[in-house]
């Protein structure tokens, strides 16, 4: 599956957002996700299918002012 993960095209073996996080080794990480610009809550990741060309944003806590 070709997915744009945080702005970078990657080949990710995954049918769902949850599987994509698993493949990216971020399943256990403290992150939030968006699919094509829409927030996807953690509890909905397993039921959220991904398709070729989808844009996934994976964000985590960072310094802020």
């Amino acid at each position: 599956m070709k997915l744009v993960v945080n702005g970078e095209m990657q080949d990710v073996p995954a049918r769902t957002l949850a599987e994509a996080l698993q493949s990216l080794d971020l399943a256990e990480a403290k992150v939030a996700t968006a699919l094509n610009g829409e927030f996807v809550p953690a509890r909905a990741r397993a039921a959220t299918r991904v398709n070729d060309g989808d844009r996934i944003e994976i964000v985590a806590p960072r310094q802020g002012g």
Partner: protein
């Protein structure tokens, strides 16, 4: 007006009136030391892309958790309502708080808020159960709209973010304070010196949010402490009731009883 001991933001009682940003410190250790030295009970944080290889966010989160302060996630860098709302939704899940420092930026050089987008995003988020801390200007009409939209705290800027200019429009900030005696008002952004933070508190502001002034100081830990002291001093001065200023001198030593020595 709140009393010295009553500083409440969305039902949370706080002792410290300093809120501190966590960005731009020379090292994570210095950030942690500065946060502790400042006495701040609220630290601002953000969300950024996480790399599977580096996992920087996970380390940062451990550091913040160890400091033990409450976090206020921001929507820094968002230029549209949609970006800000989506960022807030992601922050609520990651940080487990309904609090959000709402930034909808309107102009890249001054980083000044887009008041139209800000009010719209504040309304959407307040309706969705968020407790919104809007980064705004001292504009009274915008402030009114934000309160109508559900904001129970307002955070007007002192000056553009990171500029260190202090309180650019004291008259406007004074008017805002007078207009909203019961709404907690926090000066957010633009301060460079503890004296400027003290001045904000002397105007009757309820608190101050800082980042660059501490993080970019030669000694951030010492500067964090200095700001904490200045904010307490300014608050104390406000509660004590400052004298009226006047244009001409008025002798402080009694005239009566002065010896005649001519």
């Amino acid at each position: 007006m709140t009393r010295k001991s009553d500083f409440t933001l969305y039902g949370v009682k706080l002792r410290s009136r300093l809120m501190l940003g966590t960005s731009q410190y020379p090292s994570p250790v210095i950030l942690a030391e500065a946060a502790r030295a400042s006495g701040a009970e609220i630290l601002t944080v953000s969300l950024r892309r996480e790399s599977a290889r580096l996992k920087e966010g996970q380390d940062f989160w451990r550091l913040i958790r160890d400091i033990g302060a409450r976090v206020l996630p921001n929507t820094a860098g968002c230029y549209s309502v949609k970006e800000a709302v989506t960022t807030a939704q992601m922050a609520r899940e990651v940080f487990g708080t309904p609090w959000v420092k709402l930034e909808v930026i309107g102009e890249a050089d001054t980083l000044q808020p887009d008041p139209f987008g800000l009010v719209e995003a504040a309304r959407i988020l307040s309706t969705d159960g968020f407790e919104v801390f809007p980064y705004t200007t001292e504009d009274l009409v915008v402030a009114e709209r934000l309160v109508e939209a559900g904001c129970k705290v307002l955070m007007p800027w002192g000056a553009p973010i990171g500029s260190g200019k202090g309180l650019n429009n004291v008259f406007g900030l004074r008017a805002l304070r007078a207009h909203f005696p019961e709404v907690p008002l926090i000066i957010d952004a633009g301060l460079g010196l503890p004296s400027q933070a003290a001045a904000a508190m002397e105007l009757g502001y309820d608190g101050v949010l800082l980042n660059t002034a501490v993080a970019k100081a030669g000694d951030p830990v010492a500067m964090a402490r200095a700001f904490g002291q200045a904010i307490e001093a300014g608050r104390g001065a406000f509660l004590a009731g400052p004298m009226e200023s006047r244009d001409m001198a008025a002798p402080s030593t009694p005239i009566v009883g002065r010896a005649v020595l001519t």
